[in-house]
């Protein structure tokens, strides 16, 4: 082609809206992509489709009444949200809880961490095209955890189990055999996932070296949770700022090397194994006592403020509460991990193809209920 012809050829970027309805379980997220042929030049995330104004509602509810609302933040890891909020209020009131309640909280939180990571792994495999098989296996395992929670507190997704000062019910009789049986079953299944997915050559080709998140970028964007650990930063609130009884329990923190999507998946798989270890130890060390507490008392903390953070399966969940002495909080702010994790997405997708953005989004493990509150 001579130069007079090439002058007329120009390419332009076109805009695609990966709209709010997604064929994957990340929720309602809208991504505006600027594409140049197959390559992504820029990506803007539009959130807010699931905004339910929880923080404003909290200003008109008592501290106990707000607990069912925290269930619905990260609806997949409901126990961890309950626990974070209740621990923040207890610190505000300077309340001590019984040892048995602490151990039961750790068991519930770690079992829920396993359930949440199962969903993350299942949907990640589905986004990569392993159409439904790993997803069904993960949901089959998660069904067992949910059955255990159904017997403990009566509900399958929004548990509303923690109370200010303890928990709602004591563990029913016979639940520790069920949990022990589940631990044994789950250990063999995690090895199955290793065989099925982790070193599968197609899976490796799709997810290795995709979405590299370097250490300093992760720290600057305040990414937390397994995403941060996959980039090589050994930071876990359960070990670095221990709460409840985590300092008495022995477990490792899996850390990745490169920060690509495969590392993020691998860290989550390892965390399932470590959580099983924690649940086993906590079940063996469960002290006697009464973990329940009477509700109906209206808590009126003295005018002060507090920020407490706990390790959610998706990262660092923080509750900032300002109390002005009345029964209702003056301001409640929720620091959700998925909000910060999502912010790093435009940096990761530059220069990649559309098939890769689906892979990165799946590996970051975003939940819109938490991002939009």
């Amino acid at each position: 082609m001579n130069t007079s012809q090439t002058k007329d050829i120009c390419t332009e970027e076109f805009l695609i809206n990966m709209g709010p309805q997604h064929p994957s379980t990340h929720g309602v997220l809208s991504l505006e992509l600027k594409l140049d042929g197959e390559m992504i030049r820029d990506c803007t995330a539009h959130i807010g489709y699931l905004h339910r104004s929880m923080e404003k509602l909290a200003e008109n509810r008592t501290y106990t009444q707000f607990i069912p609302y925290t269930d619905r933040l990260d609806y997949v890891a409901s126990m961890n949200n309950n626990m974070g909020y209740v621990m923040a209020v207890e610190k505000l009131l300077n309340l001590e809880i019984s040892d048995r309640a602490k151990y039961i909280r750790v068991i519930a939180a770690e079992l829920n961490r396993i359930a949440s990571h199962l969903i993350a792994i299942g949907t990640f495999a589905q986004d990569l095209g392993a159409f439904a098989t790993p997803l069904f296996y993960c949901f089959r395992e998660r069904e067992k955890i949910i059955d255990i929670f159904d017997q403990i507190c009566g509900n399958r997704l929004t548990y509303n189990y923690m109370r200010i000062g303890g928990v709602q019910f004591d563990l029913p009789k016979g639940i520790d055999e069920k949990i022990k049986k589940f631990i044994k079953y789950m250990r063999s299944k995690v090895d199955d996932y290793d065989w099925l997915l982790t070193y599968n050559t197609i899976f490796l080709a799709r997810s290795k070296h995709i979405g590299l998140l370097p250490k300093d970028l992760a720290i600057n964007y305040s990414v937390s949770g397994p995403n941060l650990r996959a980039s090589g930063v050994k930071w876990d609130l359960r070990k670095d700022e221990p709460y409840l009884v985590y300092e008495k329990l022995e477990f490792d923190i899996p850390v990745g090397e490169n920060g690509d999507s495969w590392d993020r998946y691998k860290v989550r798989l390892e965390e399932i194994r470590q959580s099983l270890k924690i649940v086993e130890q906590a079940l063996g060390a469960l002290p006697e006592g009464d973990p329940t507490v009477k509700i109906g008392r209206i808590h009126k903390p003295s005018p002060s403020e507090i920020y407490l953070r706990t390790e959610n399966p998706r990262g660092e969940l923080g509750f900032f509460i300002i109390s002005d002495g009345s029964a209702y909080p003056y301001r409640l702010k929720i620091r959700s991990p998925s909000f910060s994790n999502l912010a790093v997405l435009p940096e990761l997708v530059k220069g990649l193809k559309i098939a890769d953005i689906v892979c990165i989004l799946g590996s970051l493990d975003i939940l819109m209920g938490e991002t939009d509150r």
Binding site: I16, M18, A125, L128, G129, A130, F131, A132, T133, F136, Y137, R140, L196, L197, N200, I202, F203, A205, R206, K353, I354, A355, D356, V358
Partner: protein, 314 residues
């Protein structure tokens, strides 16, 4: 003349029955791999499910996009269904149960199956939809590139049997099956992978499942036209399983049972393996797929051909 008419009608009846059975079989196999039941309501364990699907698709409204290229859009499903049906003319079901024993049997089948690409391309173009066009082009690139390793692996079998006719290839395996020779085993592996890409099945199902965010080249089709793409896919699956049985697994040879029973059971076992692979692996990305075809499969197929030639000359 009458015999040919009866043979044609018998083959058409077999194709429809087989496609319906495969639709049900796919859903059952995928369900049992995933620890669930699959269709259970319509008939005993859901055997009448394909009939329910067919009735549903017949009752759907046939929508045509306003700006679509009428003739091209309308013809595309035919190009997806007719070539596989035509390829049935040379499949050896039994000792003398072959509609027409062409002396260029395998070449005829390969030539006819290549026409399927045109159908997919016409569907992509005729839909007047940016994403369908890109999906159709990708699919065309995929099918055309994977034809080369497929044909090269078939040529090794043809060299061994000294003939292109399907019956002669089967008869050349009367002592032992072709797959027992190591170079044939390699050819069988290359053929399996290439054939999976030819019929757009996982792990190479980019045109179907994830093509630029929407459904791919058959987005704009509804009702019976979509059913024709669907039936074309399952018929194609049967064809490649039948070819792999004929070329590598001994065709209709087998001890006590009648030959047609052996042929069908071997074919359906091959189909089970294809379905098993589909429900296990994630999908490959487009550039990885093309790189795999040109940089890995084609050299291996060429080397295999050279080795087969050397072994035969010895």
């Amino acid at each position: 003349m009458l015999m040919m008419l009866i043979a044609g009608i018998a083959v058409l009846a077999f194709i429809s029955a087989s496609a319906m059975f495969l639709i049900w079989w796919e859903r059952k196999v995928s369900a049992h791999i995933q620890s669930r039941f699959g269709p259970m309501r319509v008939g005993w364990h859901g055997v009448l499910q394909p009939i329910a699907d067919a009735v549903k698709l017949l009752l759907k409204e046939d929508i045509r996009p306003a700006e679509a290229d009428k003739l091209v859009w309308w013809l595309a499903p035919f190009f997806a269904v007719v070539p596989p049906v035509m390829a049935f003319a040379a499949i050896p079901f039994g000792k003398s149960l072959i509609p027409k024993d062409l002396n260029v049997g395998i070449l005829y089948i390969m030539a006819i199956s290549s026409v399927c690409v045109i159908g997919i391309f016409m569907a992509g173009w005729g839909s007047n939809n940016k994403y369908s066009l890109l999906g159709g082009m990708r699919s065309a690139a995929q099918i055309v590139s994977y034809e080369i390793p497929m044909i090269l692996s078939m040529i090794t079998v043809v060299m061994h049997a000294n003939s292109l006719s399907m019956q002669k290839i089967v008869e050349a395996q009367s002592r032992h099956w072709n797959i027992l020779h190591p170079n044939m085993l390699l050819a069988a592996l290359v053929y399996t992978i290439a054939a999976t890409a030819e019929v757009n099945r996982a792990p190479f199902d980019i045109p179907e499942a994830e093509s630029e965010l929407v459904a791919g080249f058959h987005t704009e089709y509804s009702g019976m036209k979509f059913a024709m793409f669907f039936i074309g896919e399952y018929t194609n699956l049967f064809i490649i399983a039948a070819i792999s049985t004929t070329l590598f697994f001994g065709g209709w040879h087998g001890p006590f049972l009648p030959p047609v029973v052996w042929f069908l059971s071997k074919t359906y076992l091959c189909i089970f393996i294809w379905m098993w692979v589909r429900w296990t692996f994630p999908r490959a990305r487009v550039d990885q797929l093309m790189a795999f075809a040109w940089k890995v499969l084609t050299p291996i197929a060429f080397v295999n051909l050279a080795i087969t030639g050397w072994l035969l000359l010895k």
